[in-house]
């Protein structure tokens, strides 16, 4: 795969490059979000093809606030099919909702700590490049915490576990593997969850994540906790 990385830390850029190259990928590194936007923001044509994946940090020069995130949102609006994996020192639900505001396909948002788990990172890289959605468990935890509402309390503990994994962007098979149960059991839980959350079951996994995210984010959550 051809992967573009935007990361201002030399150490991390080197480490990621080495790791991904050892997996057989072709890696181009940029030291700032502006640089990446300058290269990737051009219209695509015969002489300029998009990479298979953009990996970007959130905090980058010059202001060291959220350049990477804004660059990711900007590039996705230019190239809706460009797979983007955002790595962040902090995962905040607010950043996630901005990133996932549009099409959630080929989008990922991970805590930088996960890089230490090489397998987890490579799994995320593969899933995002392949059109999947990856959401850090910590973001999901924040979303679920925000959405502590009567309707969620109707879910069983097991169903909430399944919901969290669904929200991370995992398929039924992956959830089954994670929870060490059969796929049929997972499917049963998913149907039950979607029924309880009053969501119409969709055909593919992305729609499912999208639906869950929208529900958790935008459902009223203020003042109706008690």
């Amino acid at each position: 795969m051809r992967i573009v990385i935007a990361e201002d830390s030399v150490l991390l850029l080197d480490g990621l490059t080495r790791l991904l190259e050892s997996e057989g990928h072709e890696v181009v590194g940029h030291r700032s979000a502006d640089e990446a936007v300058a290269v990737l923001g051009r219209p695509t044509g015969p002489g300029n093809t998009l990479p298979d994946l953009l990996v970007t940090d959130v905090r980058m020069p010059p202001t060291h606030t959220d350049e990477g995130l804004r660059a990711a949102v900007h590039l996705r609006s230019l190239h809706p099919t460009l797979p983007v994996l955002v790595l962040s020192q902090y995962v905040e639900q607010r950043y996630a909702s901005e990133l996932f505001a549009g099409d959630v396909r080929s989008l990922g948002y991970l805590l930088k700590d996960r890089i230490a788990d090489v397998d987890e990172l490579l799994d995320a890289v593969g899933r995002v490049a392949g059109g999947g959605t990856v959401i850090d468990p910590e973001v999901v935890a924040q979303l679920l915490a925000r959405a502590r509402r009567p309707v969620l309390e109707r879910l069983t503990a097991r169903e909430r576990e399944v919901l969290a994994l669904m929200a991370e962007g995992r398929s039924n098979a992956a959830i089954a593997e994670r929870l060490v149960v059969g796929t049929a059991a997972v499917e049963k839980h998913v149907t039950s969850i979607l029924t309880k959350l009053e969501l119409t079951p969709g055909a593919d996994d992305h729609r499912r994540v999208l639906a869950v995210l929208r529900y958790l984010e935008h459902a009223p959550h203020r003042g109706d906790l008690s």
């Binding site: 959220d66 902090y90 905040e92 700590d113 230490a116 924040q142 203020r222 003042g223």
Partner: protein, 489 residues
């Protein structure tokens, strides 16, 4: 139990400390009304306006062409008729009425005449202002509002300024008669003398006899000009003395001025006191803010030293051991590396929490609303968040929002760690340019502001922004923390 007493002290502390929101804004002193200051016009001013010729110099020579001269002449022409009427009344009617008063029947008539002095005086002041360009302030007449008719009579009869106006009518009639005589005779005689050569043919006067008459006529024009200016000045001074505020008025005025000066002095004194309280408050809060910052730095140093630093040292040891064992005992090496890997992840998580405790990135990037939502989401105790949206908070400074954030963070930590609370309610409001945060839990209460505690540090932080910090935590009844900071801080 020590906690209890400290909490009890802490709760009403906003009364013990100089109330931080007490100092009112410093207002500029009220400007003194100019009418009070410029009421008295000196003789010199009158001289300049009415009789400049008496100052000598060019005005003396140019007197016949001076506007002041002809203004004084016109004044006589109109004033004579006004004062003839008023003076005749004053000189004839008033004595008659006085006699009748002695007989007991003239009081209402006398009162009527005295009441009529007020419009007459107003007319005269207006006339003099229009004709001679001098401004004479009106006296303050005694007033009794809705008092009895008898009292109002009494007020009229005892009002010295009204009697002065009657005296003016009498004296001014005499004066204006003199003025009229001088002006008429002076200018008339002078013109007749100057014109003598024109009609001398009708007489048998020789040129030698005519010449002194002409010279005397020319001289007469000048002398009459000076005299009319001087008489006009006398008229103005008379009017000032009898139609003006009088001595009592001047005393009242001086008194009023003194009272106003006193008021201003008192206001200034008050401002000084406010400034002093404010200075004390600033000194105190500044000391506490510096202290809180020091405490915070020590806490960060300790957290880094005891946590991340120690773990990294252990990690180094672990990796060193793994390196040694790599060749001889690959299984042991793998175990050590596994362990080191877990350590690394824990150090990262710890550093992340630590850094977030210093200042969360999302607060800078997305504001208080996002930061509090994230804080609530991470809290192990369910938190009900009620925060206005980012637009409503946009007027609040980053410092005010940061203060609210750290208060909320500390309160949520305490609720989870010490209070054993089941739910926390967090409400933020903006009103009157102040940001108000309320955090209330249903835990066991008894929270205290021990020296060096997080709560004490927060108080310092809030008060340094001129905010108020109110902790109410009775044992067994939950903890309620209310913080208000000015948005502009």
């Amino acid at each position: 139990m020590e906690n209890t007493t400290r909490a009890a002290q802490a709760a009403p502390a906003s009364g013990a400390v100089p109330p931080p929101d007490a100092p009112p804004p410093v207002t500029p002193p009220p400007a003194a009304p100019s009418s009070l200051v410029s009421r008295h016009t000196s003789l010199g001013d009158d001289l300049d306006r009415v009789a400049p010729a008496l100052r000598g110099g060019q005005a003396l020579i140019l007197a016949p062409w001076a506007a002041a001269t002809w203004r004084s002449v016109s004044q006589v022409a109109i004033g004579f008729f006004v004062l003839l009427l008023a003076g005749v009344v004053a000189l004839s009617v008033v004595p008659v009425f006085l006699v009748l008063t002695v007989l007991g029947v003239g009081i209402p008539l006398l009162a009527g005449v005295l009441a009529a002095t007020s419009p007459l005086a107003t007319l005269e002041r207006a006339r003099l202002e229009a004709q001679l360009h001098v401004r004479i302030p009106a006296p303050a007449h005694r007033r009794h509002g809705s008092a009895s008719v008898w009292r109002q009579f009494l007020a009229l009869l005892t009002d010295g300024r009204r009697w002065a106006a009657i005296a003016y009518a009498a004296v001014a009639l005499l004066l204006v008669s003199v003025e009229a005589a001088v002006v008429w005779a002076g200018f008339g005689g002078s013109l007749a003398a100057v014109a003598l050569p024109v009609y001398s043919t009708a007489t048998d006067l020789t040129p030698a006899e005519v010449t002194p008459w002409v010279a005397a006529g020319v001289m007469g024009v000048w002398v009459t000009s000076w005299a009319s200016q001087a008489l006009a000045l006398a008229h103005v001074r008379l009017a000032r003395a009898l139609l003006g505020p009088g001595q009592r008025g001047a005393v009242d005025e001086a008194r009023a001025q003194a009272a106003m000066a006193q008021e201003q002095a008192a206001a200034a004194q008050e401002r000084v006191e406010v400034a002093q309280v404010r200075a004390e408050h600033l000194t105190e809060t500044r000391t506490r803010a510096v202290g809180a910052a020091d405490t915070e730095r020590r806490r960060i140093e300790r957290d880094l030293h005891d946590g991340a630093q120690q773990r990294l040292v252990a990690l180094g040891v672990e990796l060193g051991a793994a390196k040694r064992a790599a060749a001889a005992d690959p299984d042991a090496a793998r175990d050590a590396i596994d362990h080191a890997h877990r350590e690394v992840k824990e150090v990262l998580a710890e550093l992340r929490d630590l850094v977030r405790g210093i200042h969360p990135a999302v607060l800078t990037d997305r504001g208080l609303d996002a930061a509090l939502s994230a804080l609530a989401a991470r809290s192990p105790v369910p938190v009900e968040v009620d925060v206005p949206d980012a637009d409503a908070l946009a007027d609040c400074s980053p410092a005010a929002q940061a203060a609210a954030y750290f208060v909320a963070a500390e309160a949520l930590t305490n609720a989870a760690r010490h209070a054993d609370a089941a739910t926390v309610r967090l409400v933020v409001r903006t009103r009157d340019d102040r940001l108000r945060l309320e955090v209330a839990d249903d835990g066991r209460g008894g929270a205290s502001e021990l020296p060096g505690s997080g709560l004490e540090g927060l108080r310092g932080r809030v008060e340094a922004l001129d905010g108020t910090f109110d902790l109410d935590s009775p044992p067994g009844a939950g903890t309620r923390l209310v913080v208000e900071v000015p948005c502009a801080s």
